[in-house]
Symmetry: C2
Subunit: 206 residues, 2 copies
DNA sequence: CGCCACTATCTATGTTGATAGTTAGTTAGC
DNA sequence: GCTAACTAACTATCAACATAGATAGTGGCG
């Protein structure tokens, strides 16, 4: 259901084609919400049918054409309504922690590898998100600048502040995940060191 | 794909019926991986067909019957293989942060309500997870005790340590989310206070 | 001119998950 | 003996996502 609102958020700035939206998803919103083109195109058609968007045929080169979508008043209203509705949370479903709970089944090296992959994954995310924060601070994001251009001056601070706040939260989360996996690596070392060198008394070093 | 491995994890301790597994999902593993019965029953049948489980008809009362599933060697192997394979991470898809990124669209009170709901949701999760940690420390979990009973003594520390580690990570995550939403509440106050009481100079009236 | 990378869109298939409803037996208390 | 709550299992439908591939036009380079 959120895909629809991610699309409305982007289209509230300016009209775009499905391909534009797909590219934008890859480049920026995709850091918060990812969607493949095969999901975007049909959703846009559905949204047009429901009156949230207006589609406009645009020619492109000699014979090429593309469909550019404009948000309608109903679309703006739908987005605003969603924003004013408290979101219901879905149940936890976390493969990384599920695996962690049974890590004694893995070979020590595989367990370590799992933790390393977790660190790598979240390090990558953190970098992307920190990059987004830098772009916000330096007004370097095309999309955000266009959004700000269409925003009353008095509200611009808020637009930037909420965006920054969002990415700060994601960075903090990534850092938490990295810290957790680092502790996992230490734990694995401890648990499998105890074996070989017969844990001599209360062998909790480190 | 993970549902299958969550089921194998539980069935590696002892044979269970679909209903047992469903109940166990609600009570414990569900804090890491949730699944409705309508997903569990067909998956069990599929797993039996693939040789990961053996199903056994058990009578219950006069006419009642139920199907108890035993893990097979192939099932154990499949689980071990999964545990030794590094998991691929899926793309980010986070409704709460998607919404946060466009919070300027929400009425201030709705924005606050969103943050409060985030805090409440993660406070609930934290409580459940802290409870799990307490159970681990006090050997109060039936399921875990049965698992430990079937584990060589030398490995028991590990079983408990990894379980504890998992829930510690989840608690830390919940705390991070709570702290983030608290900051969100402060931010909302700041951003909308500026309006009414023109904070020091910077004459943004309305 | 031919090729290639890119733009643009669509389709098809399969899995996963959410929601809800159906059927039927069991157990315990009033 | 009835009823309510629980145990047990299955079915149906729909939305969401993943993955892959099909089709076709564009624009630039050598």
């Amino acid at each position: 259901m959120s895909l629809r609102y991610a699309l409305l958020a982007l289209l509230s700035v300016e009209p775009m084609t499905g391909y534009d939206l797909y590219k934008e998803f890859e480049a920026s919103v995709g850091h918060v919400w990812h969607a493949p083109d095969s999901q975007i195109y049909p959703e846009l058609r559905r949204m047009e049918k429901e009156g949230l968007l207006d589609g406009e045929e645009v020619t492109w080169g000699q014979r090429g054409k593309k469909r550019r979508y404009h948000i309608t008043d109903a679309g703006v209203q739908a987005f605003r309504d969603w924003m004013n509705t408290t979101l219901e949370y879905t149940r936890v479903r976390d493969p990384a922690h599920l695996k962690a709970a049974y890590l004694e089944w893995a070979a020590p090296e595989a367990a370590r590898e799992q933790m390393r992959a977790h660190i790598e994954h979240h390090t990558g995310l953190r970098q992307q998100w920190e990059q987004r924060i830098r772009e916000i601070d330096q007004d370097a994001s095309e999309m955000l600048n266009r959004r700000l251009a269409g925003t009353p001056e008095a509200d611009r601070d808020r637009v930037k502040a909420f965006k920054r706040f969002t990415y700060e939260g994601l960075v903090a989360r990534a850092e938490q995940e990295i810290a957790w996996a680092e502790r996992g690596l230490d734990l694995i070392d401890d648990l499998y060191a105890n074996r070989r060198s017969s844990r001599q008394g209360a062998g909790t070093k480190k």
